[in-house]
């Protein structure tokens, strides 16, 4: 009961800042814009497909629908959404220190572990709502705007999957996205536990993501050998939920790597938080 009150309190705090709503605003404005873009003009994919295969094949129906666009929209999960997650996660501990509220908060008869857990869970709840907002705006609004159809995705070219598999695959993809974004949130909390203002954790988190992403994609022998140890290597695990057949072994590996990172980063954050000197 105490824990629930703490979590509710932390969630209230997160949602009392204007910047928290930036992520929803970003999604609510940008996703319809992308749908509008797709609805007014043919895509490069359609043109390339017609150019390459038009002599041999007839094309029937629409290539672009809510599923196709939602799949494209998920590419925001590389840099854009992580930034918005870091914006909130980076403030969750450092914000308290900057505002000087730690002294009041941590001298109450509630253990630091409970306070830390409440903050971490509240940040993960925020992360989940961002992913759900993205899913609702992409699939829900998209279905009304563009209608449904086949699931057209990319796996070594174009792959046309039956619409009947879309629900399972999107659920899996959004689930994996949440895990990846939870790693980002944990990283932001980790940096947040070390400093006294929220700007450092946001920049630090984004710097790590960008550097790791760059290194993850470089086809040089040394970087290829260390690639499996970067959490960013598994950032595209959501895309693999659309492969045929679904590579379950890779998805399990991505899940374990994400959970391990979340555990280590939050563990490390708690270690720092527990030793935090609030008297000086």
């Amino acid at each position: 009961m105490m824990m629930l009150s703490l979590i509710r309190n932390e969630v209230f705090k997160i949602f009392s800042y204007y910047r928290t709503y930036l992520s929803y605003l970003f999604i609510v404005l940008l996703v319809p814009l992308i749908f509008w873009g797709f609805s007014i003009g043919g895509s490069t994919v359609e043109r390339q497909l017609t150019h390459a295969m038009g002599d041999q094949f007839l094309m029937v129906g629409k290539l672009v629908n809510a599923y196709t666009v939602s799949y494209f929209v998920m590419n925001f999960l590389w840099v854009h959404i992580p930034f918005l997650i870091a914006l909130v996660g980076g403030d969750v501990l450092a914000g308290e220190e900057a505002a000087g509220t730690y002294r009041v908060y941590l001298t109450r008869p509630v253990s630091r572990l409970k306070i830390f857990n409440a903050k971490a869970i509240a940040t993960l709840i925020y992360t989940l709502t961002v992913i759900l907002c993205l899913a609702f705006m992409s699939l829900g609004v998209g279905a009304v705007w563009m209608g449904l159809g086949d699931l057209i995705v990319f796996q070594d070219g174009i792959l046309v999957l039956p619409a009947s598999t879309a629900f399972v695959r999107f659920s899996l993809a959004y689930g994996l996205s949440f895990l990846n974004m939870a790693v980002v949130a944990s990283l932001a909390i980790f940096f947040s536990s070390m400093v006294k203002n929220a700007i450092g954790p946001v920049i630090g988190t984004m710097a790590i993501i960008i550097v790791f992403l760059a290194v993850s994609t470089l086809p040089l022998d040394f970087f290829v050998s260390i690639r499996p140890y970067f959490f960013t290597t598994y950032f595209d695990s959501w895309a693999k939920a659309f492969f045929d057949p679904i590579p379950w072994d890779i998805l399990w590996q991505a899940t374990w790597v994400a959970l391990l990172h979340i555990g280590l980063l939050l563990g490390g954050s708690y270690f720092i938080f527990r030793r935090k000197d609030i008297l000086s």
């Binding site: 029937v60 070219g157 992403l213």
Partner: protein, 239 residues
């Protein structure tokens, strides 16, 4: 002795039986297809070519002689231009200008099969087309289109007589050789990591040789000669 000689004579006469004229063989196919005024069929199409995969797509196909076609599907589908009624336009066209040649006679599963060859336009190019035609069914059991010495299209079909009207394909398999530009479709991958992997693999694959693909068509629920109105084909253009 006389009996033996007459048997030998009869056998050699059979052996030396002249090959059927190509026009007679083509007429076998035409006779089968002329029985079709219209038909509808459900297709299950599987396409696997480098750059494009469609593991199993249902398409409803309707045809009315001489040339009305309608395709319907939920979502999106790619349908091979050749294969649903193999070589129909080449063999049924009024301006049949082919100079066919009968190559040989063989036998497949107890049925006589004639192999004929002719020159025609295929995929907008001059091609040598070779057909294996069943006698007397008039079914095209195999077809090969060769462009510039390369077999770009190889089709094999199994048939069933539908409603005691005409022989129609129930399973058709096609092996394709496609232009190397198809490789570019592989670049349409969204994730940065996948793009890097593809670029790596493309380094060792810069040849201009054609790429191979396969198509499988499974036909079911044929409805032959039910009198489809012309208006059905005018509703919402399908391709």
């Amino acid at each position: 002795m006389m009996k033996r000689i007459s048997l030998l004579l009869f056998a050699s006469l059979l052996w030396c039986q002249p090959l059927k004229q190509p026009v007679e063989i083509i007429d076998l196919v035409r006779d089968n297809l002329r029985k079709l005024e219209d038909y509808q069929v459900d297709l299950k199409i599987k396409i696997a070519v480098p750059g494009f995969r469609m593991p199993g797509k249902s398409v409803h196909y309707a045809f009315k002689a001489p040339d009305k076609v309608k395709l319907e599907t939920f979502g999106f589908a790619m349908v091979p231009r050749q294969g649903i009624l193999p070589f129909y336009s080449e063999l049924m066209g009024d301006s049949l200008h082919i100079k066919a040649e009968t190559l040989e006679k063989t036998e497949v599963e107890g049925e006589s099969v004639w192999i004929i060859a002719f020159q025609d336009t295929f995929y907008n190019e001059d091609a040598l087309i070779k057909l294996w035609i069943g006698d007397p069914s008039g079914t095209i059991l195999k077809g090969v289109a060769t462009i510039g010495g390369l077999d770009v299209f190889t089709l094999t079909s199994q048939y069933e007589k539908i409603d005691q009207v005409a022989y129609m394909p129930v399973v058709t398999k096609i092996d394709l050789k496609l232009p190397p530009e198809m490789k570019t479709l592989r670049h349409l991958n969204s994730t940065p990591q996948a793009k890097m992997d593809i670029m790596e693999s493309m380094k060792s694959d810069t040849s201009s040789t054609p790429i191979q693909g396969a198509i499988e068509l499974i036909f079911s629920k044929y409805k032959l000669n039910r009198g489809i109105p012309d208006s059905y084909f005018d509703e919402e253009k399908s391709n």
